[in-house]
Each structure stands twice: as structure tokens, then as C-alpha cells.
Symmetry: C3
């Protein structure tokens, strides 16, 4: 069994953003030389997500507006007790639970084994500083 | 290390449906001959989910009604910008994020290592055409 | 390839609670002797979750209040058809879908390969009896 590890660094100038990670994960897979196995991609932070969906800007707008309805930004310490720690990002911890921490993707014949529209995204909900995504691949 | 891959094709006549995949995943596991490892089951589409929950029809009704409250179907291009692409399935992309893309199940002594009520479901939110689910098993 | 399996038993006196599993998963990893691979941690029950987020009490309060807004407890058989089976825990099945069933964590150089704030939690939504969490590790 082979294993491979790589971190990707992401810095979004906005508080919230979606970044397509697929080319970088494909490059990591080629670098690993693994042809059959599993590829884990996860955010190493707890106010951002890694998920699979469509690379369509209108949809990303919809994700943002929807997450804001389900878990609104509110810096007050009444709305969110987490903000009593001096943070104002409680909403980002909630949004991340909806969108998920990680994806596990099958590796088949040296490729990410995806359906036609599947793309891997990083979802940032508290950006404006460096964040890391972990790619771990095991297989042969 | 052994690896095994199979796709399952699903076609639901309704727009939204839940289909129990457990027997088909168990059959794939037997076919693989793998006795210790991990089994990934994921939707290859971005408007449907694979998840683990209870095989109970009342609960499936509740899932449907709840998802409709959290992410209502609305074909308008005002409610969802994604629908400006000519689609009307933006809500299905959101519902899928709540229910998840994939499950990873432990394989122990040749069986899916489940608690007493765990069953694997396909959740369709934009059906009426062929969709595929990927089963990838690695181990020994 | 090596594989390792262990179950953790959890009993919360309250209906809803969050329990930090990280020390127990780290102990399982040491016991396994695996140094490179993947570690799956999942609830074996369908009314509880395993997820990664921050070990901060204010945030856990916020998770609880937020989940109650998104999927309120209601024992009636009108609010949730699942309760017609004689249960009153339909809301717990929904809350678990938001928070997730499982996490997959990379194992690197014999450690859980985590960012600085990542901790593994069990989220209980229908407690007051013994529940089990499965830890399955594969690698070398």
C-alpha cells in the first residue's frame, strides 16, 4: 500500500467564497502515482468546507444566500454564545456543518472517479487569511 | 491491497424518492471478495445524495417535507440564480448538501459493519432519468 | 495492509449532548500500530452524529439552539409521521443529517492529521441509553 500527503494553501480576500480545487487535487493524484485507492480531501479548519457540486456561478450565489438564511452572520453575543470568546464567526461554524468537512473520492485507473458534473470545492465562510486543505491518498 | 469498483443505475419515476441500496451494496461486497477494508458509496450526480438512516416510510415522508421547508422547489430565476442556466433544479443542489454526497462504511469479516438500524439510501431530488451510484471497495 | 476495529460506548444522561471523542480515537490509533492510512469514525446509530468542529462550550450551545430551530423536537404524530411508529424522536433523525454520520481522518506518521482546532465529537440527539461509535483504521 502506498500513501501520499499534500496540503493546499488557500487565501480568499472575501469573508465568503467558493474555490474549485479539482485541478490541484488531480495534480496531487498524478504526483502520488497511485492508480487504485481512495482520496480524502478535507478542510483543516473548522469554519470552512470541502464538498462536491457543480461549477456554476449562479449556484454558488444561491449557496451563499441560502446559507445566510439558514445560519445568518451576526456578530452579537446574544445571537451566538460562541461570539463571547471574542470571535464573531459563530455563523461560519454552522455553515460549515451544512456543507461538510470532507469528501472521499474513488481513484480508478489513476483518475478521480467522478460523474460528469462532479467538481471539488473549498467553501470559505471566514476568510481573509491563509487556510489549508489536506489531500491524503492511499492505494496502489 | 485489493480494489473493486461497481456502478449501480437508478431510475426513479418521481422527481423525489428514497431508494434502499443496502442489498446491492452487500452484493457488491460479496462479489469483491474483500473481508477487511473500507467501502465508499457515492452519488455520481450533484442533485442526489447517498446517506445512512432508517428504512421507515414515515421518516422518509418527514425527510421530504423538511427538505422542502429548508430548500423549497422554485423554478423561478428570481428565487435561484442557478435556474437562469435554463434548469429548474437549484433546490435539488441545496437539498443534496443537507443529506450528503457519500458514505464510507467499514468492512469487517466480509460484512458491512453496521449498527442495528443502519441502511444505505439513495436520495433523489431531480429524478425521472438514469442516475449512477459508485461503489468502491478497498482492502484485503 | 493492516486493519483495526474498535467500538466506543457512550451514554449521555441528557437527551442531547456533545462528547469529545478525540482522546479515545487517538488511543485506538496508538493501539492499532498503524502509521499511514485512513481512520473512519462513525455513529452506529441513526439519531446521533460524529463530526469535527471546535471544543468550545458556547459553540456547542449554539449548535443545540440552531438544530432546534432547523428541526424542532415535536412528539406529535402530526408534525412528524415517523412518530406514528410509537417513537417521538423524528427530530433526532433530521438533526443527525445536518451534523453528519461519520468523519474520515488521515493518519500520518502515527497521528491523526488534524489542523490546529480540529476535534472529533459525538453529537447525541436521543440519548439516555448506551450508544456505540465505530473506529475502523486501515493502512500500514
Amino acid at each position: 500500500m502506498k500513501s501520499f500527503r499534500k496540503t493546499l494553501t488557500i487565501h480568499t480576500p472575501e469573508r465568503r467564497a467558493f474555490v474549485n480545487l479539482t485541478p490541484k487535487v488531480e495534480a496531487a493524484l498524478r504526483e502520488s502515482g497511485i492508480r487504485e485507492g481512495l482520496c480524502l480531501v478535507n478542510s483543516m479548519h473548522i469554519t470552512s468546507s470541502v464538498f462536491v457540486n457543480d461549477d456554476e456561478r449562479g449556484l454558488h450565489h444561491d449557496f451563499g444566500a441560502w446559507l445566510e438564511r439558514l445560519a445568518p452572520f451576526d456578530p452579537s453575543t446574544e445571537a451566538y454564545w460562541h461570539n463571547r470568546t471574542g470571535e464573531e464567526n459563530a455563523d461560519a461554524h454552522l455553515k460549515r456543518q451544512i456543507m461538510g468537512r470532507e469528501v472521499v473520492v474513488a481513484v480508478t485507473e489513476g483518475e478521480l472517479d467522478f460523474g460528469p458534473w462532479e467538481q471539488i470545492f473549498y467553501g470559505e465562510f471566514d476568510g481573509r487569511r491563509d487556510k489549508r486543505v489536506l489531500v491524503k491518498i492511499i492505494g496502489e
